[in-house]
């Protein structure tokens, strides 16, 4: 698991899981499974933008693009310099 995977996975766990025992891997569906609701996506987007000094346009920050840690990484890489 690379550094970016670790950081984002850790953030998602702390931010959205109520129970520490819940398991999460980089391909676990986040939005379609209900772990992250559409209201809560905004903080994830802000976290990514602050952490990786990027700007993700609103029309790219779709529920599909945020649906797993690996998909999020692909999105981040798309906008990273």
């Amino acid at each position: 698991m690379d550094e970016m995977q670790k950081v984002i996975l850790e953030y998602v766990k702390n931010e959205y899981l109520e129970d520490d025992d819940d398991d999460l891997n980089p391909d676990t569906p986040l939005i379609s499974s209900g772990i992250v609701d559409s209201f809560s996506m905004v903080s994830l987007k802000r976290f990514l933008e602050n952490k990786y000094k990027i700007s993700i346009p609103d029309d790219k920050a779709t529920p599909q693009a945020f649906d797993s840690v690996n998909k999020i990484i692909a999105l981040v890489k798309q906008f990273a310099k």
């Binding site: 109520e18 609701d37 209201f39 809560s40 905004v42 903080s43 802000r46 976290f47 602050n50």
Partner: protein, 415 residues
């Protein structure tokens, strides 16, 4: 083309899907006034059955109080039935102004504006006072009407873990660049019956120059020593920027709601809130009833004191019988059953025993958190509660859940 067979088929399929998922809601018809003792026709066409109502929001037992009914009659005679206008054209009477002033005094705020319901208050308030430069940070378990109101508003939306003030603080720091940060919570949460930590939230809002919104629909009239609400219980009267609440629960239970809080925010609602601008306000007969309710509650704390005593009695009785309850001290007392079908079976069996209490399960509550939500009223007498306790014990015994842990219940019935 009218409603063709094809189009009808689309909707029939949806209703069938709801039914197949076990989520079809059936109404029970009450042939009496709302009270502790009611006569119910259920299912439709069945003979009427006398039952004890354990699931009304009639916390103070004022829904059919003779003085409230009398005041409503008097209001009907003196101010008529309807207004046939929205407030700002020709739909505002002296009694609407009087009620807004009385609510302001009762809640200890700066100003109040009436809405047709609290659902409408919540639907209209955010859009009226926030812009795209602002952020709304809401508790994850707030009421559905707040979520709808947030969806209608252009401000950024974010959430914090239920009642977790550390997480809220992280969010306030994250959104430090926003023009206005509005923290949003229920006062008393309707499904769990727990209370927001408004004292800690007020302190955080001060630290981060944020505003605080509280929906106190399940608190106004009975939470706090004089029933002013959750802000009184937490010692922060005068510190909440926006309170929304309802007249459809403890305060007579008819209909109507309001936004009460900072003068400028209330004024913006009067200028901009769409449910206020484009819908008639509360009918004169209801306004007259609520005015009398506030008089009754301002004269004595007897009813909320009785509710507190009844609640303690009910919680103690259920706990001693071996049921698992959600911790708390409000009159919302959830009896945890965890399994959805079990909650429906227990509700059905209780009804057969003359007790009206409804089972709630996913998606109304989280998966594996099914329950019977009981709600206590000052209209209950001890003999009502004793009869209800006997029925709960009998039904609990039948399903073998008394004294069992969550794990034991879910092993028997599934999560």
């Amino acid at each position: 083309m009218s409603f063709s067979d094809r189009v009808r088929g689309i909707y029939k399929k949806q209703i069938q899907d709801i039914t197949d998922a076990g989520l079809f809601k059936q109404e029970r018809f009450i042939h009496s006034a709302q009270a502790a003792d009611i006569e119910v026709e259920f299912p439709a066409g069945a003979p009427q059955k006398k039952v004890i109502n354990m699931c009304a929001n009639n916390y103070l037992g004022l829904s059919s109080h003779p003085e409230v009914v009398k005041a409503a009659h008097a209001g009907l005679d003196s101010r008529g039935y309807g207004m046939s206008s929205v407030r700002f054209i020709c739909g505002t009477q002296d009694i609407h102004r009087e009620l807004e002033e009385k609510v302001t005094k009762f809640l200890g705020t700066e100003a109040t504006i009436l809405f047709p319901s609290c659902m409408d208050a919540n639907a209209g308030v955010f859009e009226a006072v926030l812009t795209k430069d602002d952020v709304m940070i809401s508790d994850r378990l707030v009421h559905a009407s707040i979520i709808d109101g947030m969806r209608l508003c252009g401000a950024m939306q974010d959430t914090f873990k239920h009642s977790n003030t550390e997480h809220l603080e992280e969010k306030l720091a994250l959104h430090a660049d926003k023009r206005v940060r509005l923290v949003i919570t229920d006062g008393v949460f309707s499904m769990d019956g727990d209370t927001a930590k408004l004292d800690e939230m007020v302190a955080l809002c001060r630290k981060y120059d944020a505003s605080l919104f509280v929906d106190d629909s399940h608190a106004t009239g009975f939470i706090g020593k004089t029933g002013r609400g959750t802000h009184e219980k937490c010692g922060v009267v005068g510190e909440i920027d926006i309170i929304t609440t309802t007249f459809g629960k403890a305060l007579g239970g008819a209909s109507g709601g309001c936004v009460s809080g900072r003068r400028e925010l209330v004024e913006l609602c009067r200028q901009r809130a769409r449910p206020y601008l484009f819908s008639n306000t509360i009918a004169p007969v209801v306004v007259s009833g609520v005015l009398r309710v506030l008089d009754i509650l301002s004269q004595s704390t007897e009813r909320r004191d009785k509710l507190e005593t009844n609640t303690a009695y009910w919680r103690k009785g259920l706990s001693e019988a071996g049921f698992i309850l959600k911790e708390g001290d409000t009159p919302i007392v959830p009896v945890m059953l965890f399994n959805a079908k079990l909650s429906q079976d227990v509700s059905r069996d209780l009804f057969a025993e003359g007790i009206y209490a409804v089972g709630f399960f996913f998606p109304v509550v989280a998966q594996g958190q099914a329950r019977i939500r009981t709600q206590i009223s000052a209209g209950h007498e001890i003999h009502h509660l004793d009869r209800a306790l006997d029925a709960f014990k009998k039904v609990g015994k039948k399903h073998n859940i008394l004294g069992k842990t969550k794990q034991e219940i879910t092993e028997m019935y599934g999560a």
